[in-house]
């Protein structure tokens, strides 16, 4: 580290690290230098000329731009001399010469740096008599962002953001001189997943949100610090509300999570909060119709029915399904209700017990972040298996891109689809779905065969390891996995040589019966490369980590406690005052498959399995009792006997745990006066009291306290201690010890007549029930269709747009084709959650899913 530098700014001594820019040095001693183009998170460019300061040089005082000049030893700077002031006034006069004074109708008015600085540093009178420049106003550069070229002051912040962070230069400067404008490239709208951030950093009202357009004035709104619930990164947000409605969402800085950036889904997809279609009253099915009833009546009915069914069919005939979108408190009370009140371990959520997850997530997002300010990223290699951050975790994608480009981080990508991150150099392993274990064993073998020194236990058991992975030779990798053996070797060497590598896998790779083998193969890989502390499973929903931690799983109690660990179970039984069943319960897919058969009643909180798989929808109709907590009407609600209206994340307090184990608060921001809805935990609490058990929860914070008591990694966390930035739980406490064991590739059973393999996955802009309520998001939603590689499309003789029938042994689905060379040859790509295309129709718990493609009935 270079020597700190001391300089004088306005007769005050300042000592800052070498390389600091003058504008930051001045800010360190609270001396304000006006800026427009300079931004702490963007590279300096010095194009607005607003930050001129006077620096004493041997040739006399010289004016320099503070945002591009690094400090130097003994520098003497003046920020408030007559020449500086005259330059500032003249500069503002030039900027305002063409800036339309339509502040009253501008959404930036009230929080506009140009307004503020004109007031502080401006000339006060205008000498302009000529007409102003005219350019495009109200011009859509994407479905969600409106550009007003007249208001633009050409600071390039938006251009630089898209280049430096998104690595998608989709905006540029056109024309020259007085005619210069910012514009998109012809025919190519801005479609970067985090493009909305350019609205936040625009220093004028040139870029405004189309979704929140004219909905708010900055001085009216109540600002609540909260977090995003669309994915497991847990970006920090600010919710701006007025008159009981959510008016706008902007990013909030948290240097440990999202820097200050958020993705467009988090920013724009909030219309469901204010939706008039929200459920308002408890509904009870009478004569085949759901009719509104009083809370008491609905609760009494459910309590009585649950009691009767439990008496008649036993506790294991009742199942509980939660959702990874629930807060920790809701998930905890749900599993407590199932285990204490009913006495069953039939409690799970989607991608819960069906996925062989690793109990801990990424050790720290900060290890991947901020190569340009603060310490360099500690992670130098990231291995992603079955995770597509660009579609699933956009802000993680942003961090990875930044680290790859700024800090030379290497990516090793293993995904059955050529995901967007493959545009960066780094081995890409496009394996055939279902061959994950073989691929991972191949990687282990490559590490063992490299000259890298093996760590600890792996060194002692190197021979044993080599034996386990011996069958994976080049031919197998080529034939079975469909990957290039040299690429596997390159990837293995990269991981072995890496100082700190992060090994991340997602639900796509570890679902179904082969999940445990994949997890074991990953443990082996992490152990031989020495990166065991950085093996991470990332769920995709907002609280995927948290609901696992609080025990919304059929085989684990809160704190990942196994059901057979008697000491821990006894402590929990004392706390709850009830016996806990010891047999593992049914998983999510098992419960839904058994619904109407051995399972007589289902209690579903915030999940919609009926729209996921047609077979499940039929099963739900056969149930004796279906209770649903929901925000809006869904396919599951239509089949329910009792519906409890629930509150959304913005309407009540809750905590969420992100993919790095950071527990963050989402406090109540708005009150919906039109609904009688209640928080999930409160509904369960009342239901318990209708079943003659009083839970000790006065408010949600009491539940947070109880979670902190029973989950070891959350020890000591309280609502107040979480603050605005959240607190990372003790991740090390939750990490199991490494256990090396052989991982065997299960045989692939090719189904005759089904030559292709189905690849599912998540896309950011799906046709989700909540996201789709924002009309602008509907316009950018991923088009419903089956993705085929051009080769396969040619073989099958289908053209883009043709309707085809995708048939698996379990069902079929008719949808249009889109041809995409990012789809692996031999696979059909159908993302989950597309409008009118429940890919679940093709699934039946078997992985991989063999399919064939037939011509559809065209024209219907």
């Amino acid at each position: 580290m270079a020597e700190p530098i001391t300089l004088t700014i306005d007769d005050r001594q300042v000592t800052v690290p070498a390389g600091t820019l003058l504008v930051d040095a001045a800010a360190a001693v609270q001396i304000e230098i006006p800026i427009f183009c300079s931004h702490p998170k963007l590279d300096p460019v010095g194009c607005c000329r607003m930050c001129m300061v006077e620096v004493e040089t041997p040739r006399g005082p010289r004016l320099m731009t503070a945002c591009t000049t690094p400090v130097a030893q003994g520098m003497v700077v003046h920020t408030n001399t007559e020449s500086v002031r005259s330059v500032q006034e003249a500069n503002l006069a030039f900027i305002l010469a063409n800036h339309p004074l339509d502040c009253p109708i501008c959404d930036k008015g009230g929080e506009c740096p140009l307004q503020d600085q004109t007031l502080r540093f401006g000339p006060g009178v205008s000498h302009l008599v000529e007409p102003k420049r005219l350019a495009k106003k109200h011009y859509l550069i994407s479905e969600t962002i409106v550009l007003d070229q007249e208001r633009c002051i050409l600071c390039w912040r938006c251009i630089r953001y898209l280049e430096e962070w998104e690595d998608k230069p989709q905006l540029g400067l056109f024309q020259r001189g007085n005619d210069t404008v910012i514009d998109t490239f012809p025919g190519q709208p801005v479609d970067a997943k985090t493009s909305g951030n350019i609205i936040d950093i625009c220093p004028v009202g040139a870029l405004t949100s189309r979704v929140a357009r004219f909905d708010f004035r900055p001085w009216q709104v109540t600002r609540t610090p909260s977090i995003c619930v669309h994915c497991s990164v847990g970006c920090n947000l600010r919710l701006d509300s007025r008159t009981h409605t959510l008016r706008r969402i902007v990013g909030r800085e948290n240097m440990a999570v999202n820097d200050q950036w958020i993705c467009d889904k988090g920013r724009f997809a909030y219309a469901w909060v204010n939706s008039p279609e929200r459920l308002r009253y408890p509904l009870l099915r009478r004569d085949g119709r759901l009719v509104p009833v009083q809370w008491r009546e609905a609760l009494e009915y459910v309590a009585e029915r649950l009691h009767t069914l439990r008496e008649e069919h036993g506790p294991d005939a009742i199942g509980f399904i939660g959702s990874a979108k629930l807060s920790n408190e809701a998930a905890y009370t749900l599993q407590r209700f199932a285990r204490q009140m009913i006495g069953t371990n039939n409690v799970d959520h989607r991608d819960g017990g069906d996925v062989a997850a690793w109990p801990v997530g990424i050790p720290a997002l900060a290890h991947l972040m901020k190569p340009q300010y603060g310490p360099d990223p500690q992670v130098d290699t990231v291995f992603l298996l079955g995770v597509d951050p660009s579609e699933e975790l956009p802000i993680l994608d942003l961090h990875l891109k930044r680290s790859v480009r700024r800090a030379g981080m290497r990516l090793v990508l293993a995904h059955p689809r050529r995901i967007e991150l493959t545009r960066y150099r780094g081995p890409y392993l496009g394996y055939r779905p279902g061959t994950e274990v073989a691929l991972l064993n191949g990687l282990v073998k490559a590490v063992l065969e490299s000259d890298a020194e093996l760590p600890g236990e792996a060194r002692e058991r190197a021979e044993e390891l080599a034996q386990w992975v011996a069958p994976v030779d080049d031919a197998l990798l080529q034939e079975l996995c469909g990957v290039d053996p040299d690429t596997v070797r390159e990837a293995g060497h990269l991981l072995a040589r890496s100082r700190q590598a992060l090994i991340v896998y997602g639900p796509l790779a570890a679902r179904g019966p082969q999940g445990p083998a994949v997890r074991q193969a990953l443990v082996n890989l992490a152990a031989v490369t020495g990166h065991f502390e950085r093996l991470a499973y990332v769920g995709l929903e907002a609280n995927s980590q948290g609901v696992r931690d609080v025990g919304l799983l059929p085989h684990r109690l809160p704190g990942h406690l196994p059901l057979d660990q008697t000491d821990g179970v006894r402590r929990l039984e004392e706390l709850w005052g009830a016996a806990i069943p010891t047999a593992p319960g049914l998983t999510y897919s098992q419960m839904l498959a058994a619904a109407g058969d051995t399972l007589k009643a289902l209690y579903i909180v915030g999940a919609d399995p009926a729209s996921e798989r047609p077979a499940w929808a039929e099963n739900l109709e056969k149930l004796d009792l279906l209770v649903v907590h929901e925000l809006v009407e869904t396919a599951t609600v239509e089949r329910a006997h009792v519906v409890f209206p629930a509150l959304g994340w913005a309407e009540h307090d809750g905590t969420f745990t992100n993919l790095e184990g950071r527990v963050q608060r989402a406090p109540k921001a708005v009150t919906n006066p039109h609904t009688r809805a209640a928080p999930d935990w409160m509904i369960l609490d009342h239901l318990a009291s209708h079943m003659d058990v009083d839970w000790p929860y006065a408010d949600v914070r009491a539940i947070t306290g109880e979670i902190a008591q029973v989950v070891p990694s959350y020890r000591g966390l309280t609502w107040d201690a979480l603050g605005d930035q959240g607190v990372q739980g003790d991740v090390d406490a939750a990490r199991p010890r490494p256990k090396l064991a052989p991982a065997t590739q299960p045989p692939l059973d090719p189904e005759p007549g089904h030559p292709l393999v189905l690849v599912t996955g998540t896309v950011l802009y799906d046709g989700g029930n909540l996201v789709g309520r924002t009309p602008q998001m509907r316009a950018v939603a991923f088009p419903t269709g089956a993705g085929l590689h051009p080769e396969d499309a040619a073989t099958l003789d289908v053209a883009p747009g043709d309707r085809v029938r995708v048939v698996s042994p379990h069902g079929s689905l008719e949808l249009p084709v889109h041809v995409d060379d990012r789809v692996r040859p031999g696979t059909v790509w159908i993302p989950e959650g597309l409008a009118d295309a429940p890919v679940g129709a093709l699934l039946d718990g078997i992985y991989p899913v063999p399919v064939r493609v037939e011509p559809g009935k065209s024209g219907e």
Binding site: D102, P104, I105, H138, R213, F214, R217, Q220, T243
Partner: protein, 156 residues
């Protein structure tokens, strides 16, 4: 009491009656209020009106500055975007909702001063009594004056 005193009193009464009789011939100074209009000063601040331009477009652009200026929080505005084919006001923005709560209003005129388009003005109507509280909340339809402007812009 002498006769002189009676005479003196009679003269006094006569004088007084003279004044009375003199005013009998003059026009009255009082106004038959509900049946006759009451003259108000040009700068009198009464019930609010929202003005239009000569072409019928509303002057109000929904900027909510009146709401911000209002010391009693009597104004509530919701803005929306104009349909370019069928605009409500010139420009991109108009007031979708514009409400004034007369029970809160103190007729200070700050909204007038804040308005960048001289859309909201305090008119000369002062008879605002009503039977229901809810009727004291004036909606945009009640506030918008007829297409031909009838409000005098104050000299200041």
């Amino acid at each position: 009491m002498a006769i002189k005193d009676y005479l003196k009193d009679a003269i006094e009464i006569g004088k007084a009656m003279g004044v009375t009789l003199k005013h009998l011939a003059q026009p009255p100074v009082t106004v038959e209020y509900p049946f006759e209009p009451v003259p108000v000063y040009p700068r009198f601040r009464g019930r609010h009106e929202l003005r239009r331009y000569d072409n019928g477009l509303e002057r109000c652009i929904g900027c909510m500055l009146c709401e911000a200026a209002c010391p009693t929080g009597a104004i509530y505005v919701e803005a929306a975007e104009n349909d370019p084919e069928d605009p409500v006001s010139p420009g991109e923005r108009y007031a979708k909702v514009y409400e004034i709560n007369l029970l809160r209003c103190i007729f200070c005129g700050d909204c007038e001063a804040a308005c960048p388009t001289e859309a909201i003005v305090l008119g000369h109507d002062f008879a605002m009594a009503n039977y229901h509280r809810r009727d004291f909340i004036l909606t945009k339809e009640e506030l918008l004056n007829p297409p031909e402007p009838n409000v005098i812009i104050r000299p200041e």
